[in-house]
Symmetry: C2
DNA sequence: CTGGCCAACTAGAGCGCGCTAGTAGCGTGC
DNA sequence: GCACGCTACTAGCGCGCTCTAGTTGGCCAG
């Protein structure tokens, strides 16, 4: 005798089984396959039948089951996105990825890394859900792991350039952005320009390097000063406090991103310093806060929509084109001058 | 003759099929069922076999397939979380939900609503992935829809109190928080206190009501003034500008949340006003920026960890306990006094 | 020696879909 | 008249797992 399955699955609070394709097919008087055709939007059903099936499905409250779909399909048509919830720029990116993926007929699955929840774990979760490609927003993992990952799965790194790994890269030309910012500061007459570093956060290494290069190019190698930090308001504020404590206030600060710049400005304000009267501040990202700040923040704009567009395109083209090699897209950033930068103070 | 499946599924960039339980079983010389038992951590395998299976799985790089698992299981043990990426408080909550769910053996699936991507769509996505319960962070949908949803699926609303719908509610005692804030302001001698509203954003209605009640209770019914807004920095700044334009500056402003308060403070600063010298500002949430602000923000603290804990507990208990009715948890907020509030200016 | 019990393990249906191979029915051209 | 093509539809396997209902073998009591 056939074994009977006792526990029924997927019941609502009334104990009703949730309807499946078979239910719709039975009620519409057609085969399951035809319902499948209709729901996939494929050719092969007359418009009359199509409408009837959709009507019946609606009556029953039928919704396709992603789990079953994922399992049965040759291609899951799902992109996994890894982000850090607390990075507003990641939110901008993730939001831009959505419509871009939809346009190409792909679904999105989100996973987050947070303190206590490692990036690897989040990636494993995405892969276990059959994501065909991964879009990693500012991944923190080492390039060895990412290389391994990139060979298993189509992988795109956004906002952090991964060298020597089998992954697509999409990022802005950090060096170019920093150079614009530095030229702007140097043009105003600043010499004692400090860089508040972003530590291991995405883009930081490139920005730091570009700062150093710009200083040297202008014969200011001796003035190079990098204050350690991270891409958070807290770190920016801490950096400001440490500069104040050391009584070595520069005339200008180039922050690793807007959040750090925001922290800097807040701490300077607390100390009674005027921006840009006493010290100029430049950020990076052009987050939505930059133009709201009491003193509008001069910053380097990155365009999340275009970054997202390239990321999705790279992923999809590599999934669909046979044997396409990983590529790199480098977008041009643009300096946005607002009120947080001005002439150096007199005593300097 | 049996039809042959041509397209193989889930291949890596080398064209290798990803290993399944059957592969592990074959290599370890056991049945698939036993591998399943081991990976589910159930009793019924000797520790020697257990270790061997895990070793073989590791050698092959086997990872369980969530899609298949979801499909086969009686209970998916998956909670769907809906959030707004751009709300930092949602990020705090979502981050706190994760470990709480894990502790109870549940998985998390994230979905976001964004401009252009409706909440319903996000919810449908979660349901299609077989989430057993939904944890909605500040849901924006109407109670009719949420009621319908709550009867189909175990649903918890966090941060927004939904009345008359079959859902669990977890939120702070908004009235109590606002009352504390108002008592603080009134105690300082403020009378002309304006509320900058959060519009339809979560918690706004309760906060607005509590503001009105507090004003009336102190015989200040005539002074009640609600400036429309939203829970964003932009809206706060706009509200500040409109107050300045009307030349009717209150002595204190109670904002709907910290983001709005931040916008207010920035706009006031731009206008050359001193906080709290010219105007006091109170926020809501106690986001991590509150204590970094140039002038520390007086605000009402909500504890995201405790909110998350209750939300997960409600969901899980209702899933596992038969016929448990939806409940409500109301957590006590706490006023945190910092530097953004002080005595009313003299002319008032 | 027999029977019973338990721990360790296996067989195989089925979750809800996608997809290939097939069929039925109906013009259409010669 | 028949071959042909085309549209509209169906049959049924298999995706990788879970889970019920077994089976097997070893050990011990009677």
């Amino acid at each position: 005798m056939a074994p009977l399955r006792v526990g029924w699955q997927q019941v609502d609070t009334y104990g009703n089984r949730r309807p499946t394709m078979a239910d719709v097919a039975a009620r519409a008087g057609v085969s399951r396959a035809l319902v499948s055709i209709v729901f996939r939007g494929e050719a092969g059903a007359s418009s009359a039948t199509r409408e009837r099936i959709l009507r019946v499905a609606d009556e029953l409250g039928y919704r396709p089951d992603s789990a079953a779909r994922l399992l049965a399909r040759d291609h899951s048509r799902t992109l996994g996105v890894l982000l850090t919830l607390h990075q507003p720029f990641d939110a901008d990116l993730a939001e831009a990825v959505h419509p871009e993926a939809e346009k190409r007929g792909y679904d999105i699955l989100l996973a987050t890394n947070a303190p206590g929840r490692s990036e690897r774990k989040a990636v494993e979760a995405l892969l276990s859900h059959r994501c065909e490609a991964l879009i990693l927003l500012g991944p923190g993992s080492g390039s060895t792991y990412l290389d391994e990952l990139g060979r298993r799965t189509v992988t795109v790194s956004v906002g952090r350039r991964i060298t020597g790994a089998h992954v697509d890269n999409v990022h802005t030309a950090e060096a170019k952005g920093v150079r614009q910012a530095m030229d702007h500061l140097l043009g105003l007459g600043h010499r004692r320009i400090v860089h508040v570093d972003g530590g291991r956060d995405p883009g930081s290494a490139e920005r730091r390097r570009a700062y150093r290069a710009a200083m040297r190019r202008h014969g200011l190698g001796d003035e190079i000063r990098v204050v350690p930090g991270r891409q958070t308001e807290e770190a920016g504020a801490a950096a400001a406090r440490s500069m104040l404590a050391e009584r070595r206030l520069p005339t200008a600060v180039l922050a690793s991103n807007d959040r750090s710049a925001l922290g800097l400005m807040m701490a300077f304000a607390r100390a009674g310093l005027d921006v840009p009267g006493d010290v100029s501040v430049v950020g990076y990202d052009d987050s939505h806060l930059s133009h709201l700040m009491p003193v509008g923040l001069t910053t380097v704009r990155q365009d999340p929509a275009r970054l997202a567009e390239h990321a999705v395109r790279f992923a999809v083209e590599r999934l669909e084109g046979e044997g396409v090699a990983p590529r790199e897209a480098v977008l041009d950033p643009k300096l946005v001058v607002r009120a947080s930068t001005g002439l150096p103070r007199d005593d300097a």
